[in-house]
């Protein structure tokens, strides 16, 4: 049995014929070759596979590719393209680099995408809000402190940009 789906991933349309049980994470990795999304547990507990599905951070190991039919998906490979016309890194990527927010890097793509939803919903999060927001994403290397710093860096930079933008408008 097979199924036809149409998905827009990182602003690019894909038409695929898939097995109905194919997980979204395997679709992204094995069919589209977007291996930046990682698999850490296959049970939605670790968050390494987090992507944005219609703007919401979801764990792609417990979403069927079939459920993503008609959806818009952003993975780590496409995140920079969503900001500032795709010129350079996304502020979150920059923040993780500046603040040493990663070591082995395996949790990083999922962590960054979860953080991106946080900053969309709440552009000026407090530290406890950041910690709560990323608590569905596990990291074994960093102890999270530099990750918090990285997200704060990005929040500050993105806020600065919007405020400057507002200033110009006045």
């Amino acid at each position: 049995m097979s199924l036809d789906i149409q998905v827009r991933v990182n602003k690019k349309e894909h038409h695929s014929t898939i097995e109905p049980r194919l997980l979204l994470v395997h679709y992204l990795r094995d069919v589209l070759g977007l291996t930046g999304t990682h698999i850490g547990c296959e049970t939605s507990l670790c968050g390494a596979c987090t992507v944005l599905l219609d703007g919401k951070a979801v764990k792609s190991c417990t979403v069927l590719a079939a459920q993503a039919d008609g959806a818009e998906i952003t993975t780590i490979e496409g995140l920079a393209g969503t900001y500032n016309g795709g010129k350079g890194l996304h502020p979150l990527q920059e923040g993780f680099w500046e603040k040493h927010g990663l070591q082995c890097g395996f949790c990083t793509p999922g962590m960054i995408l979860t953080a991106s939803q946080l900053l969309t919903d709440n552009p000026t999060p407090t530290e406890p809000e950041i910690r709560r927001a990323i608590s569905g994403n596990l990291c074994r290397c960093t102890g999270y402190q530099h990750i918090v710093d990285s997200i704060q860096y990005a929040a500050k930079k993105m806020k600065g940009k919007t405020e400057r933008g507002k200033g110009k408008g006045k």
Binding site: E19, R21, H26, R29, D30, G33, L34, T35, G36, T37, H38, I39, G40, C41, E42, T43, L45, C46, A48, T75, I76, E77, A80, L89, Q93, F96, W97, E98, H100, L102, Q103, C104, G105, F106, C107, T108, P109, I112, E127, P128, I130, R131, R132, I134, S135, G136, N137, L138, C139, R140, C141, T142, G143, Y144, Q145, H146, I147, V148
Partner: protein, 777 residues
């Protein structure tokens, strides 16, 4: 090391990050080869059983399946899982790569299925029918030693794998002279390494060339190559191991696993690339576990708090078989049992015990977190018994800074330390005396603050080969390329530690270049000379030293070339900004010209070989002994048993620092790993040997919201074990943190009459301790 530096000692962001933050890095599972097949393992659901029969016919007939192998199929074809540890008279608890007639642990591989698709392999694995006859299991190591316990190996006649003893000083006399003896049974329970990336292997055999390429998520690419070659009876030069990006190890990938040899064998057999990726459930069942030691401790003390002697009996749960270093790990506990105290007489005995559980092995800290937990709890118990302050009793027993190198009665020599200084600093940074005042005030309001202190020392930079099972040196080749760029080939195998950056900092500093001019290559046995790998906080102290020495050799050669061309004395030339210059004569030569001269070879000093390539195999003279002092503040809610972490203040001393940003990252991660062990993490097997904590739903690793901000600081006491004076920091936090937390929780429970409570401090355990102590009063 140079005094005024441009790169060494500077917080620099990492060269490895751009690929990792953009999804461009390649971990094992990201590599796809044409015609790649997938393997899936059939694992034992029983902790102990005989195998009556294995029927693979249904699986073999399933769609896409190309091979199904059982233990019988590889009997005599693939060697057993290697164990590098040798302890006199230890029983040979050696495991075949696939079970033959008996399984001894849940998750033990019994068969392997290969199919053309990932899902097809997993489907077919479900179709393998294994007829088991369950046997009684034993999971408690103390029960395993008791008479009449089920035996894992009938032929041994016992579950005791070995008995190991160590004595230094006159222990009997110490206890005879003691004013007071403090005794306690202390348990350091079983935990998981839990790297975010599970294990994974991809093997590709080229039948024409007879070459086997293995990509494995490992910490030890060269040792793995040797072991795969040995297990498969292959020429080692025909095996090429590549370690791509590795998503964390924490010791779990410092090993050689059955799956690595089997996947390689399958690729050879089928002539196709074969990949296996471990699921998280498999990772919990079938990747090594850590800790699991029960200690019976007795400390002899004078009334003034001076420690006279220590007796320690450890029951170490080794699990059902040996992995690479299984039997060795508990002996590390023995070596470090004195902690940072002058205890003149020590007797340690260790019983390594076989149980129907996953083998234990090196997990971040490996034997030293256990030792530190034991001795730090004992110091606090002794302080309580003698009505002394935990700080005072520590100061009383620290060796003075002038006493280093200091030889312990366990036979190790601490290189350098100033325990007084790190303790002073952590007390200052934490505002310790104010904390005590706050605690007293809050207690009057019925709030239970606990303040815990640990002062630790660890054994790192593993290590001199004389004390290591399979070589303790490390290699580095540094090459200045004709284009003027530098390539560092290191035998260390970083997997998150950031040595692509810190080693590049060394290169840029020593040769007067930019960071981007230096590229670090690791984890490829075809590119890098034989190396040992990354574990035991050795990457920088041993691997980095090999890099450093190779760089100095090249600098010397370049200086000789430049000196010859300029007519200057080479020893007086300086390297900076890609120019070699004499400060005295102001003569200079662009670095590129000296490099070019080495390759064009027309203007070399007489007798000098062309080329710019230097290799060092660095053999350290000793381990290093980093140390530190941690203060932890918790609040316990007696009505629920909940432990809330309020503050964590750490002072660590890892000697000289190359990149402080990376050191902070290591310390943070280590502390949180240990906070996990102290508060949340525990591997639980039931009495039948079923793993109850089989998924992340049941095994809680710390999340961001469980933690507060850590306050870190450093003292710097360089070592003379290596020329850079660096000690290693990968495990420091893990070693210092558990006892600080344990001492904090017991301190909070002191008003209830609780004298000791073992980690992990889950709510029910804390609540029960409070109520048990209340009833006893």
């Amino acid at each position: 090391m140079a005094t005024a530096t441009k790169y060494i000692g500077k917080a620099m962001k990492r060269k490895e990050d751009p690929r990792l933050i953009q999804g461009l890095a390649r971990y094992v599972d990201d590599i796809r080869l044409p015609e790649m097949h997938y393997a899936a393992f059939v694992r034992s659901p029983h902790a102990h059983a005989t195998i009556r029969s294995v029927d693979t016919s249904k699986a073999a007939a399933a769609p896409g399946v190309v091979a199904v192998l059982t233990g019988e199929d590889v009997r005599g074809v693939i060697g057993p899982i290697p164990c590098a540890a040798q302890i006199p008279d230890m029983k040979p608890a050696i495991r075949p790569v696939l079970a033959l007639d008996r399984v001894r642990v849940v998750g033990e591989p019994v068969a392997v299925v290969v199919a053309t698709e990932r899902y097809a392999a997993r489907d077919a694995a479900e179709l393998v029918e294994v007829d088991y006859e369950p046997l009684p299991a034993v999971v408690d190591p103390e029960r395993a030693l008791a008479k009449g316990a089920p035996l894992l190996y009938q032929e041994f006649g016992t579950n005791r794998a070995y008995h190991w003893e160590l004595e230094g000083g006159d222990v009997k006399k110490a206890f005879r002279q003691a004013d007071r003896v403090v005794k306690q049974r202390i348990v350091n329970h079983r935990t998981l390494p839990m790297p975010m990336e599970p294990r994974g292997v991809l093997a590709d055999f080229n039948p024409g060339g007879g070459r086997l390429t293995v990509w494995s998520s490992t910490q030890i690419p060269h040792l793995l190559r040797t072991q795969i070659a040995a297990m498969l009876s292959f020429h080692e030069s025909s095996v090429h191991v590549i370690t791509p990006e590795v998503g964390g190890g924490f010791g779990s990938k410092l090993n050689v696993y059955a799956e690595e040899a089997l996947v390689a064998h399958l690729s050879i057999k089928l002539g196709k690339p074969v990949k296996w990726m471990e699921s998280r459930r498999e990772n919990f069942q079938a990747t090594i576990h850590g800790r699991d030691e029960i200690a019976y401790l007795e400390m002899a003390l004078k009334r003034d708090g001076t420690a006279l002697g220590l007796r320690c009996r450890v029951v170490a749960d080794l699990g059902a078989y040996y992995q690479l270093l299984t039997p060795l790990i508990p002996t590390m506990t023995g070596l470090m049992i004195c902690g940072c105290y002058k205890i003149p007489a020590v007797h340690v005995e260790i019983d390594g015990v076989l149980t129907n559980k996953m083998p234990t092995d090196a997990v971040r800290g490996a034997g030293r977190p256990e030792a530190t937990y034991f001795i730090e709890r004992m110091m606090n118990l002794a302080a309580a018994e003698l009505k002394k302050d935990p700080i005072e009793i520590r100061r009383k027993n620290f060796p003075m800074p002038t006493e280093f190198p200091y030889a312990t009665p366990t036979g190790v020599i601490y290189d350098s330390a100033n325990y007084q200084r790190s303790l002073d600093l952590v007390l200052k940074n934490s505002g310790y005396s104010k904390l005590r005042k706050d605690q007293a005030t809050l207690r009057k309001q019925g709030r239970y603050l606990g303040i815990g202190l640990s002062t630790y020392v660890e054994i790192c930079a593993m290590g001199p080969s004389s004390a290591m099972p399979a070589g303790g040196w490390e290699s580095a080749t540094v090459r200045v390329e004709p284009t003027g760029r530098v390539t560092i080939l290191t035998g260390a195998s970083p997997h998150g530690q950031g040595q692509e950056t810190s080693f590049a900092q060394l290169g840029a500093e020593i040769l007067g270049m930019e960071l981007d001019d230096v590229q670090v290559v690791h984890g490829d046995t075809a590119a890098v000379p034989y190396g040992i790998g990354t574990f035991g906080s050795r990457g920088t102290a041993v691997g980095g030293t090999a890099v450093y020495k190779s760089l100095l050799k090249l600098r010397e050669k370049l200086a000789a070339i430049a000196g010859h061309i300029l007519g200057e004395e080479p020893g007086k030339l300086e390297f900076e900004g890609k120019v070699i210059r004499s400060r005295a004569s102001k003569k200079s030569l662009p670095l590129a010209e000296a490099i070019g001269a080495a390759y064009v070879a027309k203007t070399l000093p007489p007798g000098m070989e062309p080329g710019l390539d230097a290799t060092t195999f660095f053999e350290p003279s000793n381990f290093t002994y980093p140390f530190g002092a941690h203060v932890c503040v918790v609040e316990v809610d007696p009505s629920t048993g909940d432990v809330k972490l309020l503050r964590y203040v750490a002072v660590d001393d890892c000697g000289n620092v190359i990149n402080p940003l990376l050191v902070d990252g290591q310390v943070h991660g280590g502390i949180v790993h240990s906070i996990g062990q102290a508060l949340l993490e525990e591997v639980v097997y039931d009495e039948q040997g079923q793993l109850l904590t089989g998924e992340l739903t049941d095994y809680a690793i710390p999340r961001a919201a469980d933690l507060s901000r850590m306050e870190t600081d450093r003292t710097v006491t360089p070592t003379d074990v290596n020329p850079m004076g660096v000690k290693g920091v990968g495990e420091a936090g893990t070693i210092g943190a558990t006892p600080a937390l344990a001492n904090a929780v017991v301190d909070a429970l002191e008003p209830f009459g609780v004298k000791h409570l073992d980690i992990p401090f889950k709510r029910e355990r804390v609540w029960q301790a409070i109520h048990k102590a209340r009833r006893a009063r």
